[in-house]
Structures are given as structure tokens and as C-alpha cells.
């Protein structure tokens, strides 16, 4: 039943049009627009509080936009609940890790497969063969993804016992388990050391290469952003101040003023 969903499985265009988000007395995003081309890595950068996570929250249905539209694969996302957006193949990780600490890694990953599986209360309760087969099949894929993310030996370990860096990889693996067409990564290397950063960067590149999906990336590690991203949107105080290729953005005086700072190169190293 799952598997190739005709026309709904490939990467697709994400179009964010004039999205505005307001919180009591504060405009977190104001008329932000950008487009993520299918199969590309698109970075959103900007100072703290610029509205990057807010943007992700709109894309994944956690927040509702006051106005504007987000279109993905022919659907209007702003009107949808989070689980409906997930069903379209939009997966994300969280800036502050959002895993179930008590559950082992495998269960956290299998949650990612929620949308691809069907076993409900009845079939699980009765342990129907169909439920078991489904579980086995998807577990295999989850294990494959775990292996890929370097979590091979940790499937049975409760997430709460893992170090921070590893948890971040569990987050990524869980998102991958959704077999997404669009992957939203909110600061995937925050709190990691250089080695782990490189490793994570490699993972992301490989995801894009192997799966051919679009990736939307929020990250403060400019080195990584510059290397990975095809295109960058820069936000500041909820407004888009630049949009272009890494090269263009890097030299944009506005971006340097607001975000990178004059000594960006040194700061990054």
C-alpha cells in the first residue's frame, strides 16, 4: 500500500509567498517570500530572533500564518494541520531536540514511519500478521537509515542516555524515516564539535545525493551553509533582506551588516 505514490513521491517545488506571522505585539515574519527548487539545498540564515524557526513552524503547521501562502506539491500548507503536512512528505528536525527520552532509538525512528504505516489499535492489539509484517518491513528500513546515520549499534538504547550530538543524529534519522520529499533542518549542527559537524554535513550532502530530496536548512555555521547550500535566504527582524547564491549573499553589504559582521571569516574559524 505505501511505497511509490504516483506523482506524490518525487521532490517538488516549495513556494513561500508573502508569509506574515504575528505574535502579540510582535511581527516575527513579515511578508517573507522565497522558493525552494526541487532537489536543492536551500539555507535560511539570519540573526537570532530573525524568524527562521518561526518560518519552519509555519511550514510544518505548528504555527499559523496571519497572511500569505505556502504551496508545496500543489497543496496550500498554511491551512493544514501538522499531520496533514507530514502526509505530504514534509519532515523536520527541531532546534531543541524533541525526542522521547524513555523510548529506545528504534521506537523514535519508527515514529517517523507513522505516516507510512497503517497498523491501528485493532490490528496491533490482535497482533494480526499484517501488522507484524508491516512492522518488520519498516523496521528494516529504519535500521538501514540508522546505519546510515551512524546509529547502527544504538537501536535499543533509550534516547535519554545518548549524548547530545548523537541525539541530533537521531533527530535527523527520524526525519529521514518519514521518507520525506522536503526536509527541514533547524540548526542540525548546533552544539556539535568540529568533527561531528563535518560528519553531519556529510550526512546531509549524502541525503541530498542519495534521495534527491529538497532540503531547507537553518544554520548558524556559515562554513557549512556556504558549502552545502545552493541558495540562501537571509532574514532579519522577520524581513527578507537578501536571497541568492552563497556567493551573492556573502558579499551582500546588508547581510554583512546584519548578520555576518565584518570579521565573519575569522569568527567562523
Amino acid at each position: 500500500m505505501p511505497g511509490s505514490r504516483d506523482g506524490t513521491s518525487g521532490p517538488a517545488l516549495l513556494e513561500v509567498r508573502e508569509v506574515t506571522v504575528r505574535f502579540a505585539g510582535l511581527t516575527a515574519l513579515s511578508e517573507v517570500s522565497f522558493t525552494v527548487a526541487p532537489g536543492s539545498v536551500h539555507a535560511v540564515i539570519g540573526p537570532n530572533g530573525a524568524g527562521k524557526s518561526t518560518c519552519f513552524n509555519v511550514l510544518s503547521g505548528v504555527y499559523r500564518a496571519a497572511s500569505g501562502s505556502v504551496r508545496f506539491a500543489g497543496a496550500e500548507l498554511t491551512a493544514l494541520a501538522p499531520h496533514r503536512i507530514a502526509a505530504l512528505g514534509v519532515a523536520r528536525t527541531f532546534q531543541n531536540i524533541a525526542l522521547s527520552g524513555h523510548q529506545p532509538v528504534i521506537d523514535n525512528l519508527m515514529l517517523g514511519r507513522h505516516r507510512l504505516t497503517r497498523a491501528g489499535f485493532v490490528s496491533s492489539g490482535l497482533r494480526l500478521p499484517a501488522a507484524r509484517r508491516e512492522w518488520a518491513r519498516h523496521r528494516e528500513r529504519a535500521a538501514e537509515i540508522a546505519e546510515f546515520a551512524g546509529l547502527g549499534g544504538l537501536l535499543g538504547t533509550p534516547v535519554g542516555l545518548l549524548p547530545y550530538g548523537v541525539r541530533k543524529r537521531v533527530e535527523l534519522a527520524r526525519a529521514l524515516c518519514m521518507e520525506p520529499r522536503l526536509l527541514l533542518l533547524d540548526e542540525p549542527v548546533a552544539g556539535m564539535n568540529a568533527g561531528e559537524r563535518a560528519e553531519m554535513a556529510g550526512l546531509i550532502a549524502e541525503v541530498r545525493r542519495g534521495l534527491g530530496i529538497s532540503v531547507l536548512l537553518v544554520e548558524h555555521d556559515m562554513g557549512m551553509v556556504m558549502r552545502l547550500a545552493d541558495r540562501i535566504t537571509v532574514l532579519d527582524f522577520g524581513r527578507r533582506i537578501a536571497d541568492g547564491t552563497p556567493g551573492q549573499v556573502q558579499d551582500d553589504p546588508e547581510v554583512i551588516r546584519a548578520y555576518l559582521g565584518p570579521s565573519a571569516d575569522q569568527e567562523d574559524k
Binding site: 511505497g3 537570532n48 524557526s53 538501514e144 550530538g165 556539535m192 564539535n193 568540529a194 555576518l260
Partner: protein, 270 residues
């Protein structure tokens, strides 16, 4: 006992500290010293035990079901190990926790007041000082702290800790998740705080900025001090550069399509 424990009774002295969470050891015989007025950095990979070290100093291990198995922590001659967190604060040692942990449902203003509760006296002056350091907090005084951005929250967390007017500040990865400019600002602030006479024990993963701030640094590896020395020396030393500091940036050298040996991943055919 580690042979390197410097003899002194001023400043912070950790000697032979062993900590475990239930049966899991997290620190084994860690010794280090923060001289008064210094900034000392503790570096190390994820899970090396950096946060554990701070928890042991600040008396919050019990919130994580951890316990000190041996060794002592002394501050200005008095013993801190074994004290509860408020008692540690009362002796002038405050910690900014990892991940900021501002009181999300309280306003910025109230967060600052909460920070001043342990210290008690002169909180108005402390408040002036903090708002001087972080003017943005004054702007957002009546906003709920949970709704601040990451950087704003980090400033609040530091400002909140300063409200107790500590003579020793413990910082756990203050630049975690911050934009470069913001990280730089935080670094500046730490310097400024230190210049006003507060000793700082700084936990970082971002090695370069940490070493440029600190005068002395320790590298933790799986619960033990693997390396220590003046920050400048460490920053210059080859081994450190290679092993911990990610200088010469391995990411640059590595092909982006993944390290050799990792299985590639393909579309699911299920």
C-alpha cells in the same frame, strides 16, 4: 589524585572529582583550578562530561540522579561539594545552564528578579548593570521569556545569573545555537564580565573562540582530563589542533558526499 592540582586556596579548585549517574561513571578523577579573576575553559566532545562537571560544582547533580563518588570542590577555601545548589549560589558561584533554560512563562523582568532571589542584596544595582550589558533585555522586559529568540534567551540566561552578583560564573556552552555575531557578542560580554572581576569557568565546544577568551584550558575526554595548558599554547599546539579543535577543518578536506565506509542511502522502494 592528579599530580597537576595547583596548590592554592583562592579561586575554584576541583580535585580528584568522580561522578556517576547510577552505575554510569561520567567523571573519573577530574582535577582543575580556576584562579581568582581568570577565565578558564573546559573543552571536550559531546558526552565528555563537561556539563557533569558544572553540575557537580553547582550542586545540581541530584536533579539528574547523579552523585559525587569522590574528590572535592572548593571555592575560596570553603568546600562546595555536598552543598545544595542554593548554598552554592549563596557563596558566590552561579551557573548558566546548558540550553539557556529561561523561565519561559515568566517575563524577562521576572526572570531577572528570579536571578536575584538567591543573592538578595543590592539587586537594583545588579539590574542596572545587567541591563547595561544587555540593552535588549530592557526593551523586552515585559515579554514572556519563552518567546525570545535563542540569542535573546542566552543573554537573558547570563543576565539572570549575574543578578546574583557572583564572584564566579559557570557558563555551559553559552554560544550553543547562536548566530556568529551573537556568539561574538556573548564572547565580548564574557570578557566584560570577567573584566569587572568575576572569575569564569567556560564550557565550550566552539574551541577557537573559547581559547581566545580563556587564559588556561582543560580538555576533557570521556570523563578525564586529557590535556591542559595555557590557552595560547593549546591553540598553537599541533595535537590539540588535530584532535580537538577541528582546525584545518576536517570538513573542508572531506568530500561532501560522505566519508568512505558509510553506507549510502537510496530511495525506499517499500
Amino acid at each position: 589524585m592528579a599530580a597537576t592540582a595547583p596548590p592554592a586556596d583562592a579561586g575554584l579548585t576541583v580535585s580528584g572529582l568522580a561522578v556517576s549517574y547510577g552505575a554510569v561513571p561520567a567523571l573519573r578523577g577530574v582535577s582543575l583550578r580556576v584562579p581568582p579573576g581568570a577565565i578558564v575553559a573546559v573543552l571536550g566532545a559531546n558526552g565528555a562530561g563537561k556539563s557533569t562537571l558544572l553540575r557537580a560544582i553547582s550542586g545540581t547533580l541530584r536533579f539528574h540522579r547523579g552523585a559525587i563518588g569522590g574528590g572535592t570542590v572548593r571555592w575560596a577555601g570553603t568546600r562546595l561539594s555536598g552543598l545544595a545548589a542554593p548554598a552554592v549560589v549563596a557563596r558566590g558561584v552561579t551557573q548558566v545552564p546548558e540550553g539557556r533554560r529561561v523561565f519561559a512563562r515568566m517575563t524577562v523582568e521576572e526572570n531577572l528578579r528570579a536571578g536575584g532571589l538567591g543573592g538578595g542584596r543590592r539587586s537594583a544595582a545588579a539590574r542596572e548593570e545587567v541591563l547595561g550589558l544587555f540593552p535588549v533585555l530592557a526593551e523586552r522586559a515585559h515579554q514572556r521569556a519563552g518567546l525570545l529568540s535563542g540569542g535573546e534567551q542566552q543573554m537573558l540566561a547570563i543576565g539572570r545569573a549575574l543578578m546574583a552578583r557572583p564572584s564566579m560564573l559557570l557558563l555551559d556552552e553559552p554560544t550553543l545555537g547562536l548566530a556568529p555575531m551573537m556568539a561574538a557578542r556573548i564572547a565580548e560580554t564574557v570578557k566584560e564580565i570577567n573584566a569587572r572581576g568575576t572569575s569564569v569557568l567556560l564550557i565550550e565546544q566552539n574551541v577557537a573562540p573559547a581559547l581566545s577568551l580563556a587564559s588556561y584550558a582543560y580538555v576533557l575526554e570521556v570523563g578525564e582530563v586529557a590535556l591542559e595548558g595555557p590557552a595560547a599554547e593549546l591553540a598553537a599546539g599541533d595535537e590539540v589542533r588535530r584532535r580537538y579543535l577541528g582546525m584545518g577543518d576536517p570538513a573542508d578536506g572531506r568530500p561532501l558526499d560522505g566519508p568512505a565506509g558509510r553506507r549510502a542511502i537510496g530511495r525506499w522502494q517499500g
